[in-house]
């Protein structure tokens, strides 16, 4: 059941984003940035937690989930170590994803090159 919910909610987020891309001239970089900030904000307001509980990866795999993870990380880090946590919490929670993206991309650049596209 959770798979179906993940599919539906994740698909819905992507479909809404597609409408945004088609109807406005927002560039992908802007949309992704907005989603991460929105993810932090919605989590801060306590609105994203219920969606995650309902849809699992449908709510965490889209970039909103990146913001969600960072906000959660910051919340527990501030509770644990105060002001310093405000600075360490977000990036610590995102560390796995960022490190993986950087490292795998570097490997890809070493062993592969961009192809032709025509």
């Amino acid at each position: 059941m959770i798979y179906l919910k993940a599919f539906l909610v994740g698909g819905l987020i992507c479909a809404l984003s597609q409408i945004l891309i088609d109807r406005t001239r927002l560039t992908p970089a802007r949309i992704l940035s907005a989603y991460v900030v929105l993810g932090v904000a919605l989590t801060g307001l306590g609105l994203w937690e219920p969606v995650v509980r309902f849809a699992g990866c449908g709510a965490t795999v889209p970039l909103l989930g990146f913001g969600y993870a960072m906000a959660q990380g910051v919340r527990s880090a501030v509770a644990e170590s105060g002001l310093l946590g405000a600075f360490t919490g977000g990036l610590t929670a995102a560390a796995g994803g960022v490190a993986a993206a950087v490292f795998f991309s570097l490997l890809a650049a070493v062993f592969f090159s961009a192809g032709d596209r025509s």
């Binding site: 992507c14 597609q18 945004l20 891309i21 989603y35 801060g44 919340r75 994803g97 650049a109």
Partner: protein
Amino acid sequence: MKLNRTEYRSLYQKASPSSPSLRNVPAAFVTGGAICALGQALKTLFLQAGLTEQSAAAAVSCALIFLGVALTAARLFEKLAKWAGAGTLVPITGFANAIAAPAMEFKTEGFVLGTCVKMFSIAGPVLTFGISASVLYGLILWLAGGAA
């Protein structure tokens, strides 16, 4: 015919075809949904392997990022994304592609000034805004906590 900018804009906007949303939106829905469902399946696997809830979530991110980078390296991501649009862009796979694509593209300008500098040319804003928003949220929590 002399047209002012407003008149010209209404003329060319009428002449410019709009994006085929009837095709794009279902494609984005199906692909995005499928990637999320795949993430869910991976998470189940990681949980069964004994990972904690939090570690499993991080592992799902890493695995999907690996998938995104691998598809980019295999020159398949761009072909899929042309069809799927936001369906591959919005999930974390899009973030991976946004870093891998410039990293591969600009290695002709060298590993340091090409690959490493340009790596963040698309995803940089995502990190900057994400980190800044989380710090801001942390400061608010700390101030609220201090006040309480």
